[in-house]
Subunit: 240 residues, 2 copies
């Protein structure tokens, strides 16, 4: 079972590393990190580097593909036609197509979520609408046929365990959970937008801006891209 | 505030990437990944590569140091005298010295946990005893002065948030929690040894063995190392 994690400059590492740590423990898992070319990519911190192990060309038919999210890089990555073409091609034969955080915006830009429900980071929910996607603000994971989208960053671990249960059965997934000692005990309880105070939300916005997560200029660009794409799709439909 | 994540061959990626994603959002955080030399290291999956950004020599006085865990690599890493010397040196001036998972065994091998309580991955708890450490089986995080140890793998996220609260205050830590959407909803509840069935435990052992996590041969080596170190320390004390 070949599992391909898309690995792109500016991505948020935990989006991929959470589900990777779960899914690599599946029976017969063959994990790879894919990008246009093999080599290191720098994540959104500008410091942490991850290695892409395989090119898209070398990975024509993964069983599972996962697209992680990012901050400022979501807009430019969602415009990468080579990536979007590859996603559309491999999605035709995947068993599962997955996203974490704003990775859903990239799946949406590839046209894979049109008419479907999906979730993403709470800050990116509105970016899904222009692609004809119904954002699910309250869902940790949204399961739509073989596409499963997860909420922000840390939700990828829950996605991984859900997928492990679907693929290898509950007993096996529970054993992976134990091996990762995934018995979360957050010292605070402000991890969902519905639980956070206005002050916490404002501070979170500041943090995300400072750390290259969802910079306003980039949200504008992403929103513009989303509209451009949705409009050109609409105009193509009109011309048909 | 300089935060150094020790990055070593065979480490478990999520042990470091979980707390990294939290701690890098602290005000004035300067994150680095340290090893003997700069360059890529391969994690315990044999596939995922992370980049060490700085050498130990370039990092003589981090404010925070974090040692992640690993599977089969714990024993050999806990014997790496260059690493242990560096840990002892920097610990003298850190504000916080942290470990996740079997990273505690490495702190113990450096002599930093002698006479203290600590936690680690449930499978590695017994490896702490020969170093004179009191294992805390039921704790997600153990706080002993400026040393804070976390349980297995995913516990690093809880450690990160706890530290964020200590360093930047609860309000700021809650905002980081929201930015990472850390509102865990595991689909199963077998993440702690006390909650898992015997069958789940047996399956988890099998998974960890297959994936290079705590191979029995390596546990034997680690245990032997632990005893060797404890005995040589004892004999040195006797000679004094």
């Amino acid at each position: 079972m070949q599992i391909a994690f898309v690995t792109y400059p500016g991505m948020t590492a935990l989006d991929a590393i959470g589900p990777y740590e779960v899914l690599r423990a599946l029976p017969d898992a063959e994990v790879r990190f894919v990008w246009h070319e093999i080599g290191p990519i720098t994540t959104d911190s500008g410091v942490l580097m991850l290695g892409a192990t395989h090119s898209f060309a070398e990975t024509p038919a993964p069983d599972i593909v996962l697209v992680p999210g990012s901050g400022a890089a979501t807009a430019s990555t969602a415009r990468d036609e080579g990536l979007l073409d590859w996603l559309r091609t491999v999605h035709a034969t995947t068993s599962w197509t997955l996203s974490v955080c704003s990775g859903a915006v990239i799946l949406a830009a590839a046209g894979l979520l049109e008419g479907k429900s999906a979730t993403t980071h709470w800050r990116a929910l509105d970016l899904l609408r222009p692609f004809g996607v119904r954002p699910q603000a309250d869902a940790r994971i949204v399961h739509e046929g073989k596409i499963v989208t997860a909420a922000g960053v840390s939700a990828g671990i829950d996605l991984g365990l859900f997928m492990a249960g679907e693929i290898a059965g509950r007993a096996y997934a529970e054993a992976i959970q134990l091996s990762l000692e995934y018995d979360p005990q957050p010292p605070f309880d402000s991890g969902h937008i519905s639980k956070a105070s206005l002050k916490t939300k404002a501070q979170a916005h500041k943090i995300m801006m400072r750390h290259g997560m969802f910079r306003p200029a980039e949200i504008t660009a992403a929103t513009r891209l989303a509209w451009d794409t949705a409009l050109s799709r609409l105009s193509a439909r009109v011309r048909e």
